[in-house]
């Protein structure tokens, strides 16, 4: 993964000031996030929290700017980035070539595995390949929407994890592919032995902070900050807090 | 009931909630007789007339047609029970109430064909004859909205006649009409009276009542104040309330 396309951009911004300069001048990094994607971006009481939220806060600290969150739904999140409503998106956005054609990504700060979740008594789904011809429920949020399609599954789009699991349990779909972390977190909150992980992807999936194509200097600054966080162990600490494990690499 | 009695109305009481509108109405219609019901606004004329057609259900009293049906009303009488009265009478409304979505011909034949289930040929023949008679043959396929008020009211009369009722009920059939059109409707009613139709006619046209009615019933405040031959009640009323009313209408200014 990574942001291979970052090099060809000539760092010119439409208004003459670079994206980084704008952030630095205002002292605020505006971040778009869903606020409804546990455990990455969600609310604890009225407080916005989550792994991605903490990470981007720490990034801001390293950059010496304040971080301001704008919460919106997935449907609108890239539109918001395009329109300049926020500088970056931190919402466990999976890095894939399609997205990289239109946006820049930071170095990944979250590496996880896609898992196929089925009902516990399901025996005929054992791998990604066995999804061919099956029906899966995917939120368009994730990379997994594309992956399920690639595997030949019949994809039903849904709004999020909760709905996908409901469909699964009601027998309306055969499986859902999602982040392993999401599955683990939901099992922690709502232990439910009627669903299980049926297969795990061989390839890791990586998520990063997304920004507009012209924000090369901002991308560099964020990468620098992430590098520092990695180096001083902060990133690992945030990860431990949410997952009891280091998922940042 | 004397054999020449077509209809006997006795002791009709009708209240709307607290408002007692009819407080015991009695009158009789003989076969072939024209009865004019007159009286001040709000005296209950319309209500009384509607009771005869089962459109209003009184709480007490009897409406009896010679040869039936006969309905004795109580507080428990339902609208369904009252509706048998429609077998003998038919109503012509003040505002004609033609069906705007049906042609003139359909308006007058819908009852005989769809409700009475009479034979189509016979119904069409009757309709043609009656429309001819009121001068509206040419309008059979027109919609009511394209007719003048007088023409609409004449269609209303034909619609009632088509049901072959024994008693025609008119509720101020000309009062919603342009003054110039009043005549054409009155002429039709007068002819029907002369042909021997029995009818009860609520009207404010006292001159007309004097001309065509055999009997005049003067109502006031929910009771019958005076009944008698038309010439007598309208020409030399004995009751002072009748006198005042007749005076007010015949010499308004």
């Amino acid at each position: 993964g990574g942001s291979g396309s970052g090099t060809d951009a000539s760092a010119k911004s439409s208004e003459g000031t670079s994206a980084l300069a704008k952030v630095k001048d205002s002292g605020v990094l505006t971040v778009g996030t869903e606020g409804t994607y546990r455990p990455f971006s969600y609310h604890e009481g009225s407080e916005l929290t989550g792994y991605d939220v903490d990470v981007v806060k720490a990034v801001g600290q390293k950059m010496g700017v304040e971080v301001k969150f704008q919460e919106t739904q997935w449907d609108a999140i890239f539109a918001g980035l395009d329109a300049g409503r926020f500088d970056v998106i931190a919402n466990e956005v999976g890095i894939n070539p399609q997205r990289e054609e239109k946006y820049l990504f930071s170095e990944p700060y979250s590496v996880s595995t896609g898992v196929v979740v089925t009902k516990s008594d399901n025996t005929d789904i054992t791998s990604f390949d066995s999804l061919k011809g099956k029906t899966t429920a995917q939120s368009q949020t994730s990379n997994y929407y594309e992956e399920a399609k690639k595997a030949g599954a019949n994809v039903e789009p849904v709004e999020g994890w909760a709905q996908a699991v409901t469909l699964l349990k009601q027998g309306r779909v055969d499986a859902t592919i999602n982040d392993k972390l999401t599955f683990l977190d939901s099992q922690k909150t709502n232990p439910d032995d009627s669903i299980k992980i049926a297969a795990e992807a061989s390839e890791k999936s990586e998520s990063g902070i997304a920004m507009r194509k012209d924000a090369t200097d901002l991308q560099k600054a964020i990468n620098d900050a992430l590098e520092q966080l990695r180096a001083d162990g902060e990133l690992a600490k945030i990860s431990e807090k949410y997952f009891g494990d280091d998922i940042s690499k | 009931m004397s054999p020449s009695n077509l209809l006997s109305v006795t002791g009709l009481h009708k209240s709307f909630g607290e408002n007692q509108v009819l407080k015991g109405i009695d009158f009789t219609v003989h076969a072939g007789e024209v009865v004019a019901l007159i009286g001040p606004s709000g005296s209950g004329k319309t209500t009384a007339l509607r009771c005869l057609n089962g459109l209003e259900v009184p709480q007490a009293g009897t409406v009896a047609f010679n040869g039936g049906p006969e309905v004795s009303f109580s507080a428990k009488t339902t609208a369904k029970q009252a509706q048998v009265l429609r077998r003998r009478s038919a109503m012509v409304f003040q505002g004609h109430h033609l069906f705007p979505h049906l042609t003139v011909l359909q308006n007058v034949t819908v009852g005989p064909l769809e409700v009475q289930k009479r034979e189509r040929g016979e119904v069409m023949e009757q309709a043609a004859k009656l429309l001819e008679r009121v001068g509206l043959s040419a309008k059979a396929d027109a919609y009511p909205n394209s007719l003048s008020g007088g023409q609409q009211q004449r269609v209303g009369i034909v619609r009632a006649l088509m049901l072959k009722p024994d008693l025609l009920l008119f509720d101020e059939p000309t009062s919603a009409l342009d003054p110039e059109l009043v005549g054409e409707v009155l002429v039709v009613i007068k002819e029907l009276a002369q042909e021997g139709w029995s009818m009860v006619l609520v009207t404010h046209e006292l001159a007309f009542a004097r001309d065509v009615a055999d009997t005049v019933v003067f109502m006031d405040g929910g009771v019958v104040v005076e009944t008698g031959p038309a010439a007598k009640v309208l020409g030399a009323p004995s009751n002072p309330r009748t006198q005042g009313f007749v005076q007010r209408l015949l010499h308004p200014f």
């Binding site: 409901t166 | 459109l55 033609l98």
Partner: protein
């Protein structure tokens, strides 16, 4: 700009297909069933029986007082928990029909009440029963009055069918979102979809005008 133009052209057919295979049939079917429910509810609401009219009142109030989204969710995701599992399309049709049933009930009731009372009586006096008068005399006249507000409801329904995507029905708006998901051209796709909705609505308005003209003679003057 050029590639946008290309994307616009490329997405037109998939979106139109979504409209033809889902948005339009879903709207039509739901509206037809909804009207039947609405008529029933309107009559119940006008009934002299307190209980019957209360049932209709509560039904109408709940339908109009809660978001359609929730109604869809309850039927699709909620019913299975009481053992009733309904497929996406039937679920959508049920939800939209019930919704139209609630909204149109008030329209139909108002339209029936707007027919002069004399029309009922004229029906009775030629010997018709209540029911026959309703269907033969009153409803044809109520139709004219109710066409404009009903057509409003229908137009709203067409746009609301986009919510069916939430319960796995792939209609036009979902198609737009799918294309967006791989091209990230939200504004373009949404505007294209909006344009198609607009065209559908213009056609419907045209039909409404035609129908109003046809029914013109049905109004008592």
């Amino acid at each position: 700009m050029d590639s946008n133009w290309q994307l616009f052209l490329d997405s037109l057919w998939p979106l139109a297909k979504g409209a033809i295979t889902a948005t339009i049939p879903l709207s039509l079917i739901s509206f037809a069933i909804g009207l039947a429910i609405a008529l029933l509810m309107a009559l119940m609401r006008m009934s002299g029986n307190k209980l019957v009219s209360s049932i209709a009142r509560v039904y109408i109030s709940i339908i109009r007082g809660t978001p359609l989204l929730v109604q869809l969710f309850v039927i699709f995701y909620g019913m299975p928990s009481i053992g009733i599992t309904i497929d996406p399309w039937p679920s959508a049709i049920i939800a939209f029909s019930l919704n139209i049933g609630g909204y149109a009930a008030e329209i139909i009731r108002a339209a029936i009440l707007s027919v002069p009372a004399g029309q009922w009586e004229a029906g009775y006096t030629v010997g018709m029963s209540r029911t026959r008068t309703l269907f033969r005399i009153i409803l044809p006249q109520a139709a004219r009055v109710s066409v404009p507000p009903l057509s409003n409801s229908f137009i709203s329904l067409v746009k609301d069918t986009s919510l069916a995507s939430l319960i796995l029905v792939t209609e036009m708006f979902r198609k737009a979102q799918e294309i967006t998901a791989s091209t990230y051209e939200f504004m373009l796709l949404y505007l294209t979809a909006a344009g198609l909705y607009w065209i559908i609505c213009l056609v419907l308005s045209g039909l409404q005008n035609l129908l109003e003209g046809r029914l013109e003679k049905y109004v008592a003057k």
